[in-house]
Symmetry: C2
Subunit: 289 residues, 2 copies
């Protein structure tokens, strides 16, 4: 088999208040990533807007837009022009009063292949997502693009091994995780660092447990009382970090992924062979006591 060339471009950026300016910046960065050789280009979570979930405000639902809609149209047009896959994370207005935290998956010919809707919704000080986002009903998905089979998880999803496993079982070779996570001003420095380390550790472990590539794309810079900590990274099927971005600066991570390593890793680390599917039924329970 001819190997499928897959080079990811992970767009880590700051966002301002003006969606049009954020959009223009993202389109520009996607072009730059493509110039640098990327053919699977992924935005951070909700790249068109500030991370607006720091407060609950009904007027902010106006930031949502349909998929397909103007933003996906612009991304599709750019994907076709550049011949690259684009995964864009968007605040989706699905119907009157029904909103999701979603990602549009666009193939390298500009086709909108599908939508993933964030399944796990957090709710925490400065992250009031349960107010805005209806939990997704897409389940865990993977799309066969021209540059590999791509699965998407969004931010809070990334803490759930069930989500990564099911995405890998759907055939994903590369799981991409658009994210907006940061250090909270109220936390002492050691707690902040333990949190960002845990964030990377859990995602690297998804790569390891499933022998897939895992790419996290985080925003960077201060918004309110949160310092988004960047550190977007691409991890190999053995968990090694191929490239890790700055914790404080805008950056595009470009990393070539050798998709043949998925099979060679799985032959050595035979985790899929030995799963005890007869014994996992209780994973659909809340707790066992």
């Amino acid at each position: 088999m001819t190997p499928i060339p897959c080079t990811v471009g992970l767009i880590q950026m700051r966002c301002g208040d003006d969606p049009d300016a954020n959009m223009a910046k993202a389109l520009d960065r996607i072009r730059e990533a493509a110039r640098r050789g990327a053919n699977v280009i992924v935005t951070q979570e909700l790249f068109r807007t500030p991370y607006f979930c720091q407060r609950q405000d009904m007027a902010l639902f106006d930031l949502a837009e349909p998929i397909p809609g103007p933003t996906t149209a612009a991304l599709q047009s750019l994907a076709e022009e550049l011949g690259v896959v684009i995964v864009g994370s968007l605040f989706e207005r699905r119907a009157e009063g029904l909103y999701h935290n979603s990602a549009a998956v666009i193939d390298a010919d500009g086709t909108l292949l599908g939508i993933y809707r964030k399944m796990h919704i957090p709710d925490d000080d400065q992250y009031f997502e349960k107010f805005y986002f209806t939990p997704g009903d897409t389940g865990f998905c993977a799309w066969r693009t021209r540059h590999g089979v791509i699965g998407v998880l969004i931010c809070w999803d990334q803490w759930y091994p069930e989500a990564a496993r099911l995405t890998a079982m759907a055939g994903a070779q590369v799981i991409v995780c658009p994210t907006a996570i940061g250090w909270h001003d109220d936390d002492p420095r050691d707690v902040q660092l333990a949190m960002s380390d845990a964030w990377e550790t859990v995602q690297r472990s998804h790569a390891i447990a499933n022998s897939v590539y895992l790419c996290a794309i985080n925003r960077v810079g201060r918004e309110g009382r949160v310092e988004h900590f960047g550190q977007s990274f691409a991890a190999a099927p053995d968990g090694r970090v191929l490239h890790r971005a700055s914790p404080s600066e805008e950056e595009i991570v470009v990393a070539e992924l050798d998709l043949a390593r998925i099979e060679s890793t799985r032959r050595q680390w035979t985790f899929l062979r030995d799963r005890r599917i007869d014994a996992y039924g209780d994973l659909t329970q809340r707790f066992l006591r």
Copy 2:
């Protein structure tokens, strides 16, 4: 509530060919761990014997013993004398021709609380476990001991997030993983180091994803073409490593675990709250394509 005092003692040791000598050494180390304050003391995997699965030899089934049996009797007597919980990993003869890789869980009064039988069985060069061990039928368990609720996973289990999740859902506050893993002589150094790093990463991620303590107990020293790499460790519910043992020397890891941190961590990192149990049914499938 009065906090339950829990101080683990993880016995990382070399094993020779003589089971009696290994047993005597383990009993001695358990006493030493107790002297140093440990009250939950855990052996490495199959501590009575060399790691005999490096070859397939029918005569080696003679190393197996019943549970309860002479070894558990000795461990029970010591547990009662010292007033400590002991988890001992044993090659179990359950019936004629039916053998398991098991762990006996003994409470601080010497009661044999139960047996965990390794659920995931590897098979690889130098690890011919499918020849020796029938896959366990215990499922994933946790036992309420005098020093905390203890769950057990054994070696290969530790790569499976499903196993850790179900053990945590059974109520485990501390998951202990007796292990016999090493660097293979045939692997280049960078592959060896990536492997031991992946081993720690995946287990730390179980601690994080479930907000539990995770203790890995590995053997150390050369056996045949494998260099067991030690590095037994205790990780906190936020994934931080409290103590990590030497990669080359015998050592007892003694670490005090604050079980109240499980609840305080879960209030901040609300992973259990937001699991999508309606969407996990396919985890009982082999693959989704």
